[in-house]
Amino acid sequence: MTRHGGQPLPGSRLREWASRICRATAMTRLIDPVIADLQSEYAEAASRKQVWRSRWIRFTGYVAFWKVIGLHATARAWPLTREWAAADDHALGRTLAFSCVATGIVTMVLMYPPLSQIVRYAKDGRQAGWLLLFLLPQAIAFTLPIGVAIGIVCGLRGRAATRRTWRSIVTISVVCCALMLVTIAWISPAGNQAFRETLAGRPQPKGSNELTLGELRTSGPRFLYHQRWAMSFATLALGPFAFGLSAWMRGRFRSIVIGFIASVVYFLLVRFFFVVAFTTPQTGWPPPFIAVWTPNIIFILVTVLLMRTRVHI
């Protein structure tokens, strides 16, 4: 049907693609008129052998098509986001806001002790600024999971634990998990190396803490490789745990305090099992892989327990 001189008429494939994602009304009212006008205009120019004009029509027609798709998607998405926010009682927005504030505060607290050391060793204020910046990714690897956990218990305070809220929390945790992986696998080792070289004033050989995830896989200590992966999943262990805790305690103020303490306990466990994994070659048990994942497993089990006992979402 849509062939002109052996060639498919412009817009046929776009229409086919749009028909898969757009509703019938959108197709009738928006997509089909754009394509129909494009095809008619193009066929008219082609029949007059106006090659450049037909190319121009094709180009402007495609631009118009994408503009229509963009406008339609925006118009459809805007009420959806508002509906989503209203339906989950703005828990997602509150959680995000509280998580950002909590992460910022915990990062500042964590960065304060090295700051005094940096000021002492740095040559000038500019170097001190750079050194502080190089240490930041390392701090964020710890503060982001704590911030997310506190953000969730604060954001959900006084809110009902619904399926939609649960999905919001899982989404936040997954996104933060990806951020953590990028930070721990690549940014933090690069920051550490830059910190050492800036302080020494000359190139330094890489230590195990300065190796990226890829380098660790091939040449570094095995337990460190597993530990980086396990740490990246900290938000995915702490986020749902904070949700379970908040729902279990029905959003009372105490849940914020317990959430904070639990986050600290999580990192104490991480440190403990890190030492356990470090000493595995001497003791022979447990395997480093199991040791470094244990804190995550413990928190996931506690979350399951919380959800099964008290939460009905």
Binding site: M1, D32, P33, V34, D37, E41, S47
Partner: protein, 103 residues
Amino acid sequence: MPRRKRRMPTLPAKQALVLELLAGTRGMYGLELVAASKRRLKRGTIYVTLGRMEEKGFITSRLETAPPETGGLPRRIYEATPLGRRVLDAWSHLARLLPEFAR
């Protein structure tokens, strides 16, 4: 139940222009409207505007059969409905009375 704000009904400038262009004709298709508007209507946005106006009942549309030699999809011809014409009249009247409001 969500509270709805009571607002003065408005006719956006583009929709008013489309109604003006369609008022004196027996129907136009999207690109014809763009051409007739002397660049005041854009090719990328005209279809969205027409879709919204059709939803509101200001215009109606029908399919024009494509010439068999060209093939392709039939074009959609738009016409102003009696409601659309009344809205345009009312809006023009309001624009004369309250030019600041109708701008």
